[in-house]
């Protein structure tokens, strides 16, 4: 979450709760709502590393609130992150490891494993269909995220089919 928070702070200084709200507004139901505690812990670490700084703002009748802003060092880290290409979403696959190692363990039938995994992926796909139905049609960011997840799952299923053809 570090870089996500840096990006939000690049737009304007904000306090922790505003950052939580901004995340929810941008990603909608496609992103698990961040817990406010996690946000404050992350901001504390960013502050310790010199990437953000906090100022106390006085509020009438209430305790001071901490408003965070991006430092030059933070800006540099953020620029590097945005500017460089990103690792592929899945370069290692735990199921594939299981599948390859299964015969050595002598405890799993690969056909059964593949069938079980296919049903699991289809169950996830059904969840994504429902999530897409529930998502506000105007929230393009959230819908694109869901569609991306669907395309990845489709690729996983196609790969499963290839595994079944070759290993059965």
């Amino acid at each position: 979450m570090r870089l996500t928070l840096l990006a939000l702070l690049a737009k304007e200084p904000a306090h922790g709760y505003e950052l939580k709200q901004a995340l929810e507004q941008i990603f909608g139901s496609a992103y698990p709502s961040p817990n406010i505690g996690q946000i404050y812990v992350t901001l504390g670490r960013l502050e310790k590393d010199g990437l953000v700084r906090a100022v106390d703002v006085e509020q009438s009748n209430r305790p001071n609130k901490k408003v965070y802003y991006l430092t030059a060092a933070g800006r540099e880290i953020l620029d590097t992150w945005v500017g460089e290409p990103t690792e592929g979403p899945r370069v290692r696959d735990e199921f594939f490891m299981k599948l390859v190692l299964a015969p050595m363990t002598g405890i799993a039938d690969r056909m059964v494993m593949i069938n079980r995994q296919r049903r699991h992926y289809l169950g996830l796909m059904r969840d994504l269909n429902e999530l897409a139905e529930r998502t506000d049609p105007e929230n393009h960011v959230a819908l694109l995220l869901v569609e991306g997840a669907m395309l990845h799952l489709q690729a996983d299923l196609d790969w499963l089919e290839r595994c079944q053809e070759d290993l059965s």
Binding site: M1, P32, L122, R126, R162
Partner: protein, 250 residues
Amino acid sequence: MTPSVAPVVETVNLVKIYQDGGVPVPAVRGVDLRVSPGEFVAVMGPSGSGKSTLVHMIGGLETRTSGEIWLDGQRADTLNESAWALLRRRRIGFVFQFFNLVANMTVADNVELPALLAGASTREARRRREYLLGELGLTARADAAPSQLAGGEQQRVALARALANEPSLLLADEPTGNLDSRNTRDVLRLLGEVHREGQAIILVTHDARVASLADRVVSLLDGQIVDDGGTGLVRRRPKGSAGDVVELRG
């Protein structure tokens, strides 16, 4: 013994062997499949696994080599061609990858035709056509000729046509193969409605979004069923939260 409702489709040890220059090529090797009225079954599997052949045989478009096919409790594989055609017209709707729309008829007439052939009144056929074209976002295209439509539109017209006579069984072979994601959504919504109205669906697909809506997924490999079961069982997340379905890094 209590009488139970006959399955909408039942195949018994169904086999199809093609001949390739005198060499027998098995495509379907002993499939036992039972589909209850109103059930939505997706058929998946690699290309060459026999999915299309299976569905074509159930619809009477290809002859079986051996085995039995029963539709609504009636033995169908022993029928002659005209009796098959009659059965098809009344009870089965088809959507295939190639749309086969009648070129010199409008979209509206293409969709009304099967209902009229099955004996519906003109008014009933029109009402059904208007409903189906509306659901598929094609109302404005009703008077167009099929050749004036884009591929995705033609495919949706083919689906509307397949549903025109409210068949008790819809057979579909990759019905979303040519559709972009928004049109796929329209088709999925209509399939869901058709399903809720109690029509059975057997649908061959590679598209996991489509398959995930089915009650049951049958997986074929080398002409045999290797898995047959529900898809909903693995769902663990409570409603209202995307959980870790979508994971962002950073």
